[in-house]
Subunit: 442 residues, 3 copies
């Protein structure tokens, strides 16, 4: 049974019309949790994902070496606020997780406005938005607030409280492995460390969770490994603990910022012409919708680590609007209304299309390589001659036969013929059934 | 003696100004014959060609296996008509070969208009033209007629007669081999199975016949093999019987639709960058006339078979307007006025230019590779210095010397220097005569 | 100490703001001398250069074989004029070296205007300019003059005197070798045979002389060999006597026509993608100024010989306006006002930029190839997270780490990252200092 038909058969309910709404509801469920690269917020995010798919949770102790890095102390936060002399909380963590610089050390002090200001972060250009700031590797504290809030602060004595802890503990990440027929893997990685930012990256978490759910019901050719990890230190930790898995990764994808209404933007792997790169390019071009393809650069998300020279994995990254290219990026405006059910659902569908292509991208051998076989006598070709054009289906069969010399995968054939992969795939199945092609293990 | 000068010396009469008229007259001579993929019409076509060039006729018996195909029964037709109740022949094979669907089985029946209609083929968009239809591999019968004829048919009882036979016999094709100095061959193939269609492909037959006539008077480097064959089954039959010849084919060309007034359109071989592909591209670009170059696709004429993966021969195809891209294609409008003497003659001349390039495209070795040789003392370079530009002839010598390192053919040099192949060829001859170059056998 | 900083430290006076004026003054100093491919004029040019840089002078005797060429007899000229019957010198070598066709044989005769005219050369299109003409390899004589002069000549008996000699002697050329740490060489070649033409090529001589002066104060990685030679026969003679040096030439540059106000025009080496070709392309593109890049052709200056197939050296050519593309080319209008101090100085600076790139274009190895190293803890990366963009410096470090897999030089990294070579170089130094990179000997 083919991957595509398996999905249709066993998971049609998962792909029902309200898919987008369900994805958005999951984003909403995760939105209030204050995640970080360690700590209980991150654990809660992973627990919620684990309610939907089989998840293996890993705890990596503080101080563990991961290549050049050391797993930091664990950060937890209970409360934080700035209170004026009248006892009013004028900045309150309880109203937005973004108000506290992530990884702020504990503080409990009374400060003048002048003393407070160096610890306050705003976006002067976007006076109503709260920025998102972190300080994982330098011990400091800070508050983020809107420019309007800042402008309205009078001289006063402020009580500043951050009830956080930074202590030995562990870094948490989670894996979901969907076992396929082969031990060869497709890696899907998304960062889970950002608090209360919907596009970056609750969107990626939601899409990946639902992808795992859909795939769990199929018998795919590849095994699929989903990683839900804190950015940078998470992928570095995973790679350092899984060097034996790395050689099995045939294709990989980092999912981030996949819920906004923008067009798809695909970032190629460092190698630049891997099968997953070409799969995305083919399907994006065939989609008829606007899209964007970027060459690899070593700045972005965890593809930085997967594509570091010591690994150089065939891992691309799918986004809608690219990080840093939408003004809402890393601000309180990356909220529940910035990501849409339609975008979330179409990202999921597009990923499934790509996986389906990769699953089916085999190389076949024309068993009758000298001249064309007689398709007409097999019912595969029209019988009346003289018409000016061949149909697409006939062309697809002719291309598939012509290029199935053992050196061309179906994607190669689709690219060269300018026909859609699915059309070539259907031709392949018809020809295989007629005994004219045999599949080659690659 | 060079190929070019040999042609001029021995065949100047063949290339005289009325060449186009003689080509067109030959098309006119073949036009009334009802050809098909087998049978006496095809034999008559080949007999007429054989009156002009030495031709070896082959008969392949019905039932012979040719790779995946079986040579079909032989079809012959003597008469066919549809007669109304008043005894008037309202469709008459004698007035156009196209009126009968090619390979129609015998029929002798009285039918109502309703019973007749499923057997009638028209072109609603071109109400005055008769379409060309075939049914080689499904036993049926049919008549082709103009839409106006069809529209004017009243209810009546029609007498339908097709006096044809479909019986064991043989498939006929012909070869003309012009022996050259080398056993390496240039293959020219054209299909001879279409009845009363001037561009597709009486034009190809006429040009190929005249090419063979011209070449027969020369001592070419390559041997030239001309095939006059029924489409598809003919080339498949030839290939299946001549696998030993295949390795000797260095270049090949399918000639079809070469008489209409459109610009040249060259379709590349499957390999896409063979010497004949590059020869056509160079000379088409140098011609200064509009032209068209298409990548290989496995749809078209017999290049489909020559370029099947089991052979993958360096065979391109020359057309003027591409099959299926002119409305007259496969209709009664592909008649004697659709092909012009000028187009036929210029196709022949262009093919000779291409052959001349291939004949002369050797690799030479600069015998004085360190620094330039002193051309001035040999009378090959102007003696006064200080002028701002070199002449084309001097540039051609400098390029030829610079690139004749054993790795560049003359066509390579022409491509890189953007000079015409003939200019490079002349420079090569001058330099060879001066003892500065020696030819390398490739 | 790096090449760049060495220049700054020891030669800042050489690169002072009046550099252009000093270059132009040197052109002015050489302008009155009547150079040729042999003789005392050429020797005087080289003597003046030798007053500024350490120069080794070579004399190659007449009759010496140099590959296909023979060193010609030596030409010297003392005086030349055409005098009318009233005793007036109407053409006088003393007023312009260009008036005498270079290499004219001695003559002392009385001629009518009709007899004289075949020996007179003008530029009808530029009636006020004197052309530059030579006749090195055919014994003849001639005068060059303005069209206006020619038009004003009445019928008369003219006394024609050329007090020259063409006798066995020698061909003179000069070399300046700046020893570097490596025996690998960068070759800079410029022709010294043109008399009284400022752009072609007193500009090249001046820039090369000053380059040698600047480099002499440094400890470069490469050795730099400057050749001041007569065109064609000079480079051929040098190559024939220095075949043992040829394998050490890693990069080479022909300098000619580098003083006019036009944009830079770089002509690639025959190989077309050598390191010096790519260095020029990178720096020209990064300059923000208009520029021109030409593919190699075997017409031009001495790159013709260095790039002949028997040597095929990685030698490009830098010009401003290309020879033959400015109307002043090879005329008396290529004078002191045609070349500008600014252009001469900017050519010199640009050459130094290119040399600096070549000196520093090493390949490094990321010592921490699995995942990114933690730059933050080394003070190389900002510590606050969440900002939308990385800075250029951070990007440069990430690119350098990502591509330093042993297969990419710094220029490769600059090209792929679209960052300036200098930015990549700075990142490399920072990373090397932090112990994260080690240089590889190529």
């Amino acid at each position: 049974m083919t991957f595509g038909s398996t999905i249709a058969a066993t998971n049609s309910d998962l792909l029902s019309p309200d898919l987008g709404n369900r994805l958005h509801a999951f984003v909403s469920e995760l939105y209030p949790i204050c995640s970080s690269i360690t700590g209980n917020g991150l654990r809660e995010i992973l627990r919620r994902i684990g309610q939907r798919i089989p998840l293996q949770i890993h705890e990596v102790p503080t101080g563990t070496q991961a290549f050049d890095w050391i797993v930091p102390r664990e950060w937890n936060i209970r409360d934080a606020y700035v209170q004026n002399s009248r006892g009013e909380k004028i900045i309150d963590f309880k109203s937005s997780n973004l108000h506290v610089m992530n990884y702020s050390v504990p503080v409990n002090a009374k400060l003048s406005l002048e003393e407070l200001k160096p610890h306050l972060y705003t976006l002067p250009d976007r006076p109503d938005w709260i920025p998102y700031r972190t300080s994982y590797y330098r011990e400091t504290w800070g508050f983020c607030l809107t420019q309007r809030q800042l402008d309205s602060l009078p001289e006063d004595e402020y009580e500043v409280v951050i009830d956080s802890s930074l202590e030995d503990g562990s870094l948490t990440y989670a894996e979901c492995l969907i076992q396929g027929k082969s031990r060869e893997e497709i890696l899907i990685s998304c960062h889970a460390c950002h608090p209360s930012l919907c596009n970056d990256n609750l969107s990626g978490l939601a899409v990946a969770t639902f992808l795992a759910q859909v795939l769990a019901g199929t018998e795919p050719r590849f095994s699929y490994r989903f990683l839900f990890i804190p950015g940078t230190i998470g992928s570095i930790s995973w790679l350092s603990r899984n060097e034996n898995v790395v050689p099995r990764i045939k294709h990989g994808l980092v999912l981030a910022c996949v819920g906004d209404p923008g067009a798809f933007s695909y970032k190629k792997s460092r190698r630049g012409n891997t099968e997953i790169d070409r799969a995305f390019l083919h399907l994006l071009a065939a989609s008829g919708n606007p899209y964007n393809v970027r060459d690899f650069s070593p700045y972005g998300y965890d593809e930085r680590q997967y594509c570091s020279p010591g690994f150089n994995l065939p891992v691309g990254s799918l986004n809608r609007t690219q990080h840093g290219k939408f003004p809402e990026y890393h601000t309180s405006a990356d909220n529940l209304s910035f990501v849409t059910p339609e975008s979330l659902a179409s990202t999921l569908h597009f990923c499934l299309e790509v996986f389906r292509l990769l699953e089916n991208n085999l190389t076949y051998l024309n068993l009758n390589p000298k001249c064309e076989p007689q398709l007409g006598k097999r019912g595969l070709y029209r019988l009346m001659g003289g018409l000016p054009d061949a149909g697409t289906r006939e062309l697809a069969m002719l291309w598939t036969l012509n290029l199935s010399d053992g050196n061309h995968s179906l994607l190669d054939i689709a690219e060269r013929s300018s026909l859609h992969f699915d059309v070539i795939l259907q031709a392949t199945r018809d020809l295989e059934q007629a005994g004219l092609l045999s599949s080659q293990t690659r």
